[in-house]
């Protein structure tokens, strides 16, 4: 469905755009191989030339695209075997599509006719920038996942892995995680500390948020600032302060000490999310409940709590993740008996770069995704209940 009638582009225009894309690819490939500048120039020349030539051959687009795909796949195979062939084929497929997409002006078809060339350029630049941000945020996380199935004890893509040879992959690092005493103790400690810290943060945080939302409380802003401060003060400072304070009152190196420290870190998240849900809470409901004879406690549990529950739960999830992922404070406040998963990973990275860390990281990423999905679903539900359409 074409919104705008289009004409084929001139060879010069296609060549220029293709050269730009080629330069970008060349920069990455070249940097990885040792010379960014060289890669940039070669990439620009190759794609530029292809763009120039192919603009005249639009009628045979289909066979030419297959030919490009094949040529790049073969080139890749000659350079680096199987894995490079796959990459070459992907690159060839993209190049062929991209050049004809530009040359036939297909990119313009779906956009409204009144856009200026500048607006069209921005339309696509914006998408490229968003894509690049995603790539740079997510690739480092994705890279560790296949490495966690490595059959060797190093953070290395072995030749077997790159050939997709099953012998290069193994679950032994997951087995190590499940059978090693150190990791199991750390997992057990994390599972003992995080829920307890979450319960405390949710309890105190919710009460604080409700109290601070009452207009008659004196020094509301000051109290709020103090309660939020663990989120703002650099963690290492809170940690050192807690260490000396807890040492003096005998909490350092105890289970309770770590739980309290993590609860303090989690409270700000609960306060912020619950305060946000309380903004949409109609206080005449509590007055109505009181009018019908309910005490403040009954009102809270029967009227207010169900309505602000999504905020409480998402705050609780953030508090849980904070405790579960926290390494600095536990290194200070805990002792070896309270060694949590992040602590074990931290030591493991320093002393022994073992892919077991990656296996654990992969599992934790999975857990985090589940938790955040839950938060998002709750948020949508809460908006639906309050009559807003989920955005």
């Amino acid at each position: 469905m074409a919104l705008t009638p289009v004409q084929h582009q001139t060879p010069a225009f296609t060549a220029a755009v293709a050269a730009g894309a080629g330069a970008l690819f060349g920069l990455f490939v070249g940097t990885a191989q040792g010379s960014g500048i060289l890669g940039l120039i070669v990439g620009a020349i190759v794609l530029g030339a292809m763009g120039f030539v192919l603009t005249g051959m639009i009628s045979q687009a289909k066979p030419i695209r297959w030919a490009i795909l094949g040529i790049f796949a073969v080139l890749g195979f000659l350079v680096g075997g199987m894995p490079a062939m796959v990459l070459g084929a992907l690159f060839g497929w993209f190049t062929g599509w991209f050049i004809f997409w530009i040359a036939t002006s297909s990119y313009r078809k779906r956009l409204p006719p009144y856009l200026t060339p500048g607006q069209v350029l921005w339309h696509f630049s914006f998408r490229v920038i968003c894509g690049a941000i995603f790539v740079f945020l997510i690739t480092p996380i994705l890279v560790v996942m296949p490495l966690s199935f490595n059959a060797e004890n190093f953070f290395t893509f072995t030749p077997e892995m790159l050939r997709f040879d099953p012998a290069g992959y193994s679950l032994k690092h997951y087995r190590d995680f499940l059978s090693n005493d150190g990791w199991q103790q750390a997992l057990w400690n994390s599972l003992r500390i995080a829920p307890m810290a979450t319960i405390l943060s949710v309890g105190f945080g919710t009460l604080a948020a409700i109290g601070l939302s009452q207009p008659h409380v004196p020094f509301r802003r000051a109290i709020m600032a103090i309660l939020i401060s663990p989120m703002i003060v650099p963690l290492i400072i809170s940690a050192a302060g807690m260490y000396f304070f807890y040492s003096r009152i005998g909490l350092q190196g105890t289970y309770m000490g770590v739980v309290l420290a993590h609860a303090a870190l989690g409270i700000p998240f609960v306060i912020i999310t619950v305060t946000a849900t309380l903004v949409g809470f109609d206080h005449s409901l509590t007055r109505a409940a009181a009018n019908m004879g309910a005490g403040p406690v009954t009102t809270f549990f029967r009227v207010q709590m169900p309505l602000i529950l999504p905020g409480v739960i998402s705050g609780g999830l953030f508090a849980f993740i904070t405790s579960f992922d926290e390494v600095v404070v536990v290194l200070f406040v805990g002792s070896a008996g309270q060694k949590t998963l992040p602590w074990q990973m931290f030591i493991g990275l320093r002393e022994q770069i073992s892919p077991t860390i990656l296996a654990v990281a992969t599992i934790l990423v999975g857990i985090s995704i589940c938790l955040l999905t839950t938060v998002e679903l709750l948020r949508r539900r809460s908006e639906r209940l309050r009559g807003m359409s989920p955005s």
Partner: protein, 367 residues
């Protein structure tokens, strides 16, 4: 009646005697070490047999890298939670000077050798500090990729500085210690003059100038696990690290890597007991140390990791690797074949010059 009383009394005494003995010592202790394969070797060789013998609960902490800072903080907070701490000799000296570690008399607190030699003579020169009980001799030395060095593998320390014969990256530790000595040695300074030259401003310049020739090809490491990872990746052609790490890469992980023992630098690792423990915990810590540093125990550790025992009397007892079944003696840094040309970490020199040379080295790195 009388007889029955007597029996009862005897029975109570018999029951109480071991209990009274145990009550003098804490029944839980925290042992701090480096983690990884090294901690494992200690747990297998010392802690498990000790726990079996005494029934004590042992908690393993893996914080030796921060030991000095943490012991200072614990001391300031008045809450020392560690009982026995594994540190390198240089850290032990600092802790001893600051009064954070307890002084230990080897002849009173340590077991004599099986032939009756006193502990002091058995450890000999390795007792470098009053607070420090040496446990192993390790060395910082080079490993290289056998598949990336061509037909003539490197055999001399100066091959590290030879970019023509061995092109490619090399991994060096991000600190002046060892690197400065190696640089001077390969710049024509005689081994016995190295520290005399390094004392002088010009000597330090000379060492840095030599390092300058390979600076562009160096990847700097700071954790012992870095070089093995870089070697396994093929990211570097050769790199320095602790010999036990290289042993693990070569024998346990089967990587195409070999050792370059020339001009390896020996250093010591061992136990200290923090100052300011309660009497019960101190008694427990001393009892553990007595057990863990006797001749047999030190030799046992070498079954799990290729570090040389610190007692002279342990060397002949070094046997085979517990899992691989290979003879460990040829993998020890102290083996005659490997120790033809060695340094011993110069504690006095580096205590005096470390801050100064560190500053110059860091400035040079940033250039």
């Amino acid at each position: 009646m009388k007889l029955r009383n007597l029996t009862a009394l005897a029975a109570t005494t018999a029951l109480c005697a071991p209990m009274a003995f145990a009550a003098d010592m804490a029944d839980e202790m925290t042992i701090v070490s480096w983690g990884g394969a090294y901690s494992n070797s200690q747990i297998k060789a010392y802690s498990e047999p000790y726990a079996e013998k005494t029934g004590v609960t042992i908690i393993n902490d893996e914080s030796s890298a921060e030991a000095v800072a943490k012991l200072r903080a614990m001391n300031e907070a008045g809450n020392v939670t560690w009982d026995v701490v594994d540190v390198v000799a240089a850290d032990a000296m600092r802790l001893c000077d600051e009064g954070l570690a307890m002084e230990i008399d080897p002849d009173e607190h340590l077991a004599p050798a099986p032939d009756g030699t006193s502990a002091e003579d058995d450890f000999g020169d390795l007792l470098v500090s009053d607070c420090f009980i040496p446990q192993i001799v390790y060395s910082t030395t080079f490993g290289y990729r056998t598949d990336l060095v061509g037909d003539t593998p490197p055999s001399k320390i100066c091959d590290v500085f030879d970019l023509e014969a061995y092109p490619g990256k090399r991994a060096l530790e991000k600190r002046p210690i060892n690197n400065m000595e190696w640089a001077l040695l390969c710049d024509g300074v005689a081994k016995e003059d190295v520290y005399d030259v390094l004392e002088t401003e010009e000597g330090q310049e000379q060492a840095l100038a030599k390092l300058d020739t390979i600076k562009d090809s160096v990847i700097w490491w700071s954790a012992g696990a870095d070089t093995p990872q870089l070697l396994a990746d093929g990211e570097v052609v050769m790199g320095s690290t602790y010999n036990g790490r290289l042993f693990s890469v070569i024998e346990e992980q089967d990587q195409p890597v070999a050792m370059l023992w020339d001009a390896q630098v020996f250093d010591l690792d061992g136990w200290i007991i923090p100052a300011g423990l309660s009497d019960e915990r101190k008694a427990r810590a001393l009892d553990y140390i007595y057990f863990a540093t006797d001749t047999q125990r030190l030799a046992d550790q070498a079954k799990y990791i290729s570090y040389g025992p610190a007692r002279a009397s342990s060397a002949p007892l070094v046997g085979q690797h517990a899992e691989l079944g290979i003879d460990m003696a040829p993998h020890m840094p102290t083996d005659p074949e490997n120790s033809k040309n060695t340094f011993l970490y110069n504690y006095e020199f580096w205590a005096d010059y470390r801050d100064d040379i560190d500053a110059k080295f860091q400035a040079w790195l940033a250039k």
